[in-house]
């Protein structure tokens, strides 16, 4: 109430305060320098050399040109985008649909809510185990069911069949990360005051109109957040793809992170690997700028 006041408290001058400030922010600085700026700078430097760990020779943008002009880059980029977009959108659809269901007066909704957190808690490796078994050619439940129903004549190796490998990875991913969207949307749904709906009902709005005019506008921020943040994370995903397909068959599930790993760890081609890292860095930076401009997430901590 009082008077004009600074949000961050103006501190009493004194040495102990300065010491405390130093003490508090020094580890942060050290952390980012050693584990982020240092490595990223190192990556960017390496990307301008051929064979950076051996007979390093400066080549300018040579590595970048090689990566960008090679005929595989657009293909890997497409795989990344396909994987990121479809997992994100499907997670959103599942999450939105199911949170709308759980938000209703439904028997056992509490149990459903708890259930939804389970896939999220499981380590990715476990999810991979489950889905390799579910989709296994010899013993998998899905193959059994499809064969019994007569939809297919012989069992399919889902993770190694072109055309089915990517959808299979996507299915397993949605199973694990769909609940992210679910919980965010559910929290936002529950935050919409009942009075909004009551007023709309009194004014004669149909359920669809209520969804369109009240529910959806109130969820817009959450949906945008999910699309952006989840999208970026899925774009960066390595573990679930690597563990299920190793990027195969015939590179059909090789996304940019898988490619970086292949180049660096498997082939030891650090020049190309770091150049590709630099390109991913640029892509993420652009998305980051978009995220900061649209969502202004830093407003939550600024005074």
């Amino acid at each position: 109430m009082g008077a004009v006041r600074e949000r961050a408290p103006a501190l009493v001058s004194g040495n102990s305060t300065r010491l405390l400030l130093l003490f508090a922010l020094l580890p942060l600085g050290a952390f980012f320098t050693v584990l982020w700026f240092g490595p990223m700078f190192y990556t960017l430097v390496m990307s301008f050399f051929t064979d950076p760990l051996g007979s390093a020779q400066f080549t300018g943008f040579g590595n970048y040109l090689d990566v960008l002009t090679g005929d595989t880059f657009p293909f890997y980029l497409w795989n990344s985008v396909l994987f990121a977009v479809s997992t994100t959108v499907l997670s959103l659809v599942v999450g939105l649909g199911f949170s709308l269901v759980v938000n209703e007066q439904l028997r056992g909704r509490q149990g459903l809510r708890t259930l939804m957190i389970v896939p999220y808690l499981l380590p990715t490796v476990v999810v991979v185990f489950l889905w390799t078994l579910m989709l296994d050619q010899n013993l998998g439940l899905l193959n059994q069911a499809l064969v019994e129903m007569g939809i297919i004549s012989s069992p399919i190796a889902f993770f190694s069949t072109p055309g089915l490998a990517m959808p299979s990875v996507i299915t397993a991913s949605v199973w694990k990360w769909g609940s992210f969207a679910f919980f965010i949307i559910l929290a936002n749904l529950q935050a919409i005051p009942d009075a909004y709906y009551e007023r709309a009902q009194v004014q004669g709005a149909s359920p669809w109109q209520q969804f369109r005019d009240i529910t959806f506008p109130n969820l817009r921020g959450a949906i945008l957040l999910i699309l952006l943040v989840r999208g970026i994370w899925m774009f960066n995903k390595f573990d679930i793809i690597w563990l299920t397909t190793r990027g195969g068959p015939i590179n059909l599930t090789t996304t940019l992170p898988i490619r970086v790993y292949d180049l660096a760890i498997r082939s030891g081609a650090f020049g190309s690997a770091t150049a590709l890292s630099g390109i991913m860095f640029a892509i993420l930076a652009v998305t980051g700028v978009l995220y900061f401009t649209v969502m202004e997430p830093e407003a939550e901590v600024k005074d």
């Binding site: 009082g2 008077a3 004009v4 006041r5 600074e6 103006a10 009493v12 001058s13 004194g14």
Partner: protein
């Protein structure tokens, strides 16, 4: 021992905003002083500078002649009650009240004695072992007062401690705070936006306006002899009526009234005249305001009548004991004597008190 507090040209800037503009006042040792004013007038900032929670951009602060401008809150002989109580949710009320004593290394037995004494005075002995979250708003505020009281500070600072409470609780706590003040040997500085609280509790009041001291006086003086239109309208309920008059010759003219001016005031071309609602009485007085009644509010034993001047531009309020003779839409003439009037210039600066003029007039007639 209560200490005298001196603020010397205190200034506080937050970026481009000047919250407090060169304030100089002295609070006498043992006084109950209120800092009052609307939101954003700089009263809380001033209190926080006395506490040491903010350092002034310029100026000096002395306690009993000792300069403390740059010292930390820990080094000052103060305790403070915060607007939101600031009771620690992870400590019981007993621990909350005793926290300051614990910091100062008071042994546990003595601590408990003092906590219980404070709790008795504040009528919360049964609440001591509860957590603050289990208490009502009023009880929480009592614990917060107890927390400040047990330290027996030389200076007690209170930052709008009652602004979140309902009217009945406010009245109770008002009495409680005054009782504490009597028991403590301390200078009390009390920040509030409620002039009524300030008027009833204080020895002296600092009325602030936009970072400056509008007037620093005893409550009665503030009411009787406001030194500007701002003070006259801020202090007292219902608020003072102010009408703007044109001066022609010796007469001040308004659509509601014409008033013969003393010669000292007839040099102005326009001036403002203030009159308190309780000073206006229908059918009485030497000057009359012609008014049309808009709204009648009943306040129990008295009634507030809201009316409009004939030009329709100014609202005037007056208070009557009996409402039977009045009806909405009716025209009345509400009168007052010269001694009830307050004279300001166009900008609202003080010109003369009607009471002074009346005395001189009487003296002249004699």
């Amino acid at each position: 021992m209560a200490q005298e507090i001196t603020l010397n040209d205190i200034r506080k800037q937050f970026g481009d905003i000047v919250a407090v503009k060169d304030v100089s006042v002295t609070f006498e040792a043992g006084d109950f002083v209120s800092l009052v004013g609307p939101s954003g007038c700089g009263k809380t900032t001033t209190l926080r500078m006395i506490a040491g929670l903010e350092t002034p951009t310029a100026g000096r602060i002395h306690f009993d002649g000792v300069e403390l401008t740059e010292t930390t809150p820990q080094e000052r002989p103060i305790s403070m009650v915060f607007q939101n109580t600031a009771l620690y949710p992870h400590m019981t009320c007993r621990e909350n009240i005793g926290y300051g004593l614990k910091i100062h290394g008071i042994p546990k037995a003595e601590r408990n004695d003092r906590i219980e004494e404070a709790a008795d005075i504040l009528q919360i002995p049964d609440q001591l072992d509860k957590m603050p979250g289990e208490l009502s708003g009023g009880q929480q505020q009592r614990v917060a007062l107890g927390q400040a009281f047990v330290e027996q500070p030389d200076v007690l600072l209170l930052d709008e401690p009652m602004s979140d409470l309902d009217a009945k609780l406010k009245e109770e706590l008002r009495v409680e705070i005054q009782r504490l003040h009597r028991k403590l040997d301390a200078t009390v500085v009390y920040v509030t936006h409620d002039q009524n609280e300030a008027m009833t509790m204080s020895d002296r009041i600092v009325l602030m306006d936009d970072g400056e001291v509008a007037q620093y006086d005893e409550p009665r003086t503030l009411f009787d002899r406001p030194n500007s239109e701002y003070v006259a309208t801020f202090i007292g309920t219902p608020t003072t009526n102010v009408l703007e008059f044109e001066v022609e010759g010796q007469t001040a003219i308004h659509s509601a009234a014409t008033i013969d001016l003393p010669s000292t005031l007839s040099t102005y071309s326009r001036l403002k005249i203030g009159v308190r609602p309780r000073a206006l009485t229908p059918g009485k007085g030497t000057f009359g305001l012609d008014l049309t009644i808009d709204v009648i509010e009943t306040m129990g034993h008295e009634h507030a009548i809201h009316a409009t001047t004939p030009d329709g531009e100014t609202s005037v309020e007056f208070v009557v004991d009996d409402v039977d003779d009045f009806a909405v839409g009716q025209t009345v003439t509400a009168g007052a004597d010269l001694s009830d009037l307050l004279f300001f210039d166009e900008t609202g600066a003080h010109l003369a008190y009607g009471s002074d003029l009346a005395t001189t007039q009487e003296a002249g007639q004699r």
